[in-house]
């Protein structure tokens, strides 16, 4: 369960989140929708532990662990995974090396044995095949020269191998054509389970046709202004975000 209470965040002295509260129980998928500049990416970066996002008030916990008391890498080891809107290119580091380094760092932090090379390669082959990723792509430097769709698929590949307890998908649909969107969504849906919660952040309703949320929250002006069932997303598609601009102000 992800629990966010009265979260206030500033970047460079500018308040971006102004009292955001949110509760995502394990097993549920919640969507956060909102206009540009509402604070969607601020929320995902703050939860993941990026420098420069200063929490001035409020709290956030994952399964009872205080996230703000942990470094970014410690949060990952506790099971938090942020799928980036724009995944970074890491020249010189093959994707396989990167994922194995991450997996073993997390296992080490949890006091588990590191996974050996043969077992890791077997796992990587299986997961790549299930996501229709050419295994040779995993030998190339991470995300370097990949298309937008390939980068998002690599994010899904990472989460499929790291098996986090909670996923934050930040604008995963941006830059995807309809085929890529379907493949990526299938990958995400395969990870739905009673133990795993998900927060799907998106500007458009389109993604939610593929990843069906249990709850939809509207983020505007730095806080959640309304929440509802999946029908709220459809409603927003009709009416737009304009009416929330006043609520937030």
């Amino acid at each position: 369960m992800l629990l966010v209470t009265n979260l206030h965040v500033e970047v460079g002295g500018t308040p971006l989140l102004k009292g955001l509260s949110l509760q995502v129980p394990a097993g549920e998928v919640h969507a956060i929708m909102g206009p540009n500049g509402a604070g969607k990416s601020t929320l995902s970066y703050t939860l993941a532990g990026r420098e420069g996002y200063e929490v001035t008030q409020g709290s956030a916990s994952l399964n009872g662990e205080d996230l703000f008391a942990l470094e970014a890498n410690e949060r990952a080891a506790k099971g938090l995974f942020l799928s980036f809107q724009y995944p970074l290119e890491i020249p010189g580091v093959p994707s396989l090396t990167f994922i194995r380094t991450a997996l073993n760092a997390q296992r080490k932090a949890r006091g588990e044995d590191e996974i050996g090379a043969p077992a890791f390669l077997k796992l990587a082959r299986e997961k790549a095949a299930s996501l229709k990723i050419d295994f040779d792509m995993l030998k190339r430097p991470l995300n370097v020269g990949f298309s937008g769709g390939e980068k998002k698929r690599m994010e899904i590949c990472q989460m499929t191998m790291l098996l986090p307890k909670f996923l934050i998908l930040d604008e995963t649909d941006s830059g995807l054509d309809i085929d890529a969107l379907r493949i990526v969504s299938e990958g995400v849906n395969a990870l739905r389970s009673p133990e795993r919660g998900m927060l799907v952040i998106t500007h458009y309703q389109r993604l939610l046709d593929y990843i069906k949320p249990d709850r939809v929250h509207v983020l505007a002006g730095g806080k959640i202004v309304t929440s509802g069932g999946p029908e709220l997303a459809l409603e927003l598609e009709e009416t737009g975000y304009d009416r929330f601009a006043q609520v937030a102000a």
């Binding site: 890498n73 949060r75 942020l82 970074l88 290119e89 890491i90 580091v93 380094t101 760092a105």
Partner: protein, 346 residues
């Protein structure tokens, strides 16, 4: 002005200083108040050296300048030699020299190490290399000097037609360190690759200086030096390529790219192309930057601790250079050396 001259005369006034343009960033005069006593012969080291794990390697050891003065590879012969320069005594100075010849069509893989066991020694090594027609030299040099050492290595390479020189230098620096390579390039199908990596921490200094002179038509030179400096370390890269009149169809490329990991660290880069021929293709590129904070956060968000994430980015950055080492064992060793450098710590 040279360190060799100063060691011979015992006069610090003979040391190169910042007033000598070529030594502007590597002031030996300021680093050495008096010339120390000559190093004794010294004991052979207990350590097996950085290349010990590699198979089928002959070893030559030169301790405090004492050892063989010639290495010859016969025509058509192929050899792999670990050449170990050892500085075993603190507070002493020595000069050593060696001549290496690779005859026509021969090849030598030279795994060269400069290993400092004593502290604050002064070491001056001169190597002359004659590479015959169609012969190949692959030189991989690891500089493991002590933090308080003053160490200068000067190599003069004389290439023949169709010969190949591939060189990679890996260094962690010293109090003052200079690795200087002069290449007389005949053109005529000869090819040169001069690469370097430096990873410097604390108050260490390292200077990689290269001077390549293209004297005939149709020669190629490629250079790639990459490095990172942290704390108050200081790196110097001076690369000069001269293309003489008539050395047409010369293809020369020089790249130097570095990361500065702290505010007090410094990099001095001086790339120079001097071209007197008309029909040539020459270029140089030089960049100095910081680690990509966004990439660092991305790696950390996957569970990798800060120090390891930095080390991963740094070794990936300079790994482009070590990937170019032809000898597989030496390449692997160089990659292990990168990971063991501990550059991730900030």
């Amino acid at each position: 002005m040279s360190l060799a001259l100063a060691l011979q005369s015992g006069d610090v006034a003979s040391l190169p200083s910042r007033r000598d343009e070529a030594w502007r960033y590597t002031d030996l005069r300021a680093a050495l108040r008096a010339i120390p006593a000559s190093s004794p012969r010294g004991e052979a080291p207990l350590s097996a050296g950085p290349f010990a794990a590699l198979d089928a390697v002959e070893t030559i050891i030169i301790t405090n300048g004492f050892g063989p003065d010639r290495l010859s590879v016969a025509a058509g012969e192929h050899r792999t030699v670990a050449l170990r320069f050892i500085a075993s005594e603190a507070a002493s100075a020595h000069h050593g020299s060696l001549t290496i010849e690779v005859a026509e069509g021969g090849s030598l893989t030279l795994l060269e190490s400069h290993e400092g066991f004593g502290q604050n020694y002064v070491s001056d090594i001169a190597i002359g290399l004659q590479i015959g027609p169609g012969a190949t030299l692959e030189r991989v040099s690891i500089l493991n000097d002590s933090a308080e050492a003053i160490s200068v290595v000067t190599a003069r390479v004389d290439l023949s037609a169709n010969a190949t020189l591939n060189q990679t230098v890996l260094t962690t620096g010293a109090k003052r360190q200079r690795f200087e390579t002069h290449v007389s390039h005949p053109g005529q199908g000869a090819s040169v690759r001069l690469d370097g990596v430096y990873l410097l921490g604390e108050a260490r200094h390292s200077d990689q200086t290269t001077l390549v002179t293209h004297k005939g038509e149709g020669g190629t030179t490629t250079q790639l030096t990459k490095g990172a400096v942290r704390d108050s370390a200081r790196a110097v890269f001076q690369g000069k390529i001269t293309v003489e009149r008539g050395a047409d169809q010369t293809d020369a490329r020089m790249g130097h790219h570095a990361l500065i990991l702290s505010e007090r660290a410094e990099i001095d880069a001086k790339p120079e192309l001097e071209i007197y021929a008309d029909d040539v293709s020459c270029a140089h590129g030089n960049t100095v930057g910081a680690l990509d904070e966004e990439a660092l956060f991305y790696i950390r968000s996957r569970g990798v601790p800060h120090i390891d994430a930095r080390a991963l980015l740094i070794s990936a950055f300079v790994g482009e250079v070590t990937d170019r080492i032809g000898h597989e064992g030496a390449r692997q060793m160089a990659q292990d050396w990168l990971l063991a450098s501990g550059m991730g710590a900030s």
